[in-house]
Structure formats: C-alpha cells, structure tokens
Amino acid sequence: MSWNAINWYLHRIAGALLIVLLVAHFWAVHFASESLLRGELNYNAIEGRIRLPLWQWIDISFLFVALYHGLNGLRNIVLDYSRIGPGAGRAITVMLGAAGAVWFYWGVAAFRNLR
C-alpha cells in the first residue's frame, strides 16, 4: 500500500469519525448542562465540562482528526492544479503539515491553565 493509498483511505476514515465526534461535541457544547441550555456561553459555563479529562480527550481527538481531514482536503485541491509544479506541491504539503502542528498545539494548550 503506497502513501497515496493510505492517505486516501485515512481521509475517509477521518470523515466517518468526524461525524461521530461532531455529534458528541455539539451535544456537549450546547445541551450537556443547564447553563448551556439557557444559552450562557462564558468561561464558567464551559470550564465545568472542559476540566474533565474525558472531554479533553474527546476534544483533542476531534481536533486532530479534523485538522488532518481539513488540511488533507486542502492539499488535494492543490494537487489538482498541474500549474503548481512538483517542488511547489511538496513545499505546500510541508507548510500544511506545519500549520497542522501549530494549530494542534494551540488547541491542546487551551487546557493548560484551567482553574
């Protein structure tokens, strides 16, 4: 199995996972507690849920899979334009990977200083 094949396959797996994770995330963010149901959206309303390791794991997994699926999707768009040569294509892949790493860090670091 080549890297191209693995990439294609993982993109579909990621898509399927995202549907499940999205529903879980949507429920947790909008319906899981009284204050959220009332529409209160502030640090206190969120902190109660997000300090629990379970939700941190779910959110971090969601972020990783979403970044992979989204940035890989963008990469596919780039690959479809032959005007962008092989060198430029490789450079863009590296940049997308770097962006993914940076955004993943920012996401994980959000949980750093919770009370």
């Binding site: 549907i19 529409g39 902190e47 963008l74 768009i77 955004w103 996401g107 670091a109 919770l114």
Partner: protein, 117 residues
Amino acid sequence: MRFLPGMVAHTVQRLTGITLLVYLLVHVRTIHKLSEGPEAFDEALAFFRNPLFKMAEIGLLATVIIHALNGIRLTMLDLSIGHSRQRLYWAWALGAGLVLFLAGAVPMFLFGVWKSV
C-alpha cells in the same frame, strides 16, 4: 461543459470544506484563549456576540450538514455502492440536509439571533 449534478456535488464539497477549515482555524484560536483566564476568554467570546455572527453560525450548520451528507454519499460510491443512482443520492443529501438544517436552524434563530436583536 455543462454543470451536471455530480460536478455540482464536487464543487459544493470543496467550497464547504474550505469554509469549514477556515472556521476550524478561527475556532481553535478563540478556544485557545481559555488558557489566558476567564477575562481574556469572555472578551474573545464577546467579539462574536452579535447578530451577524449568529447568522453565520446558522450558515455554518448548513455547511457542515451538506459536507457530511455528501461525504457519506462519496464514501458509499468509494465502496462501489450506488454508482447508477449517484444523482439520486445527491438529491437525497440535499433533501435530508434541508430537513436537518431546519431542525437546527429554526431554534438557533428563534433563541439565538431573534433574542439577541
């Protein structure tokens, strides 16, 4: 070349995908403010507390719904299921998408945008 349904689906998938990616990147930057304490986080949230962003949020719901439903259609086609009915499945995705969208968007509008205006 005329824009046939399969091509429309492909274009919609890409446009919604780019939209969702942009949203994700902004969203993560906003949530990151959690690590800077309650004041910084609540200030960041306040920036989005206006009818324009509330409407955009409803648009986001439509975007993610159609991208996910068409994604399911594409994955079925990847398994060689339904090639002869791919246009019908696109129509179903649009139909089911509209139903799911209304189920979510109407409450969001009434209790979100309408209340805040």
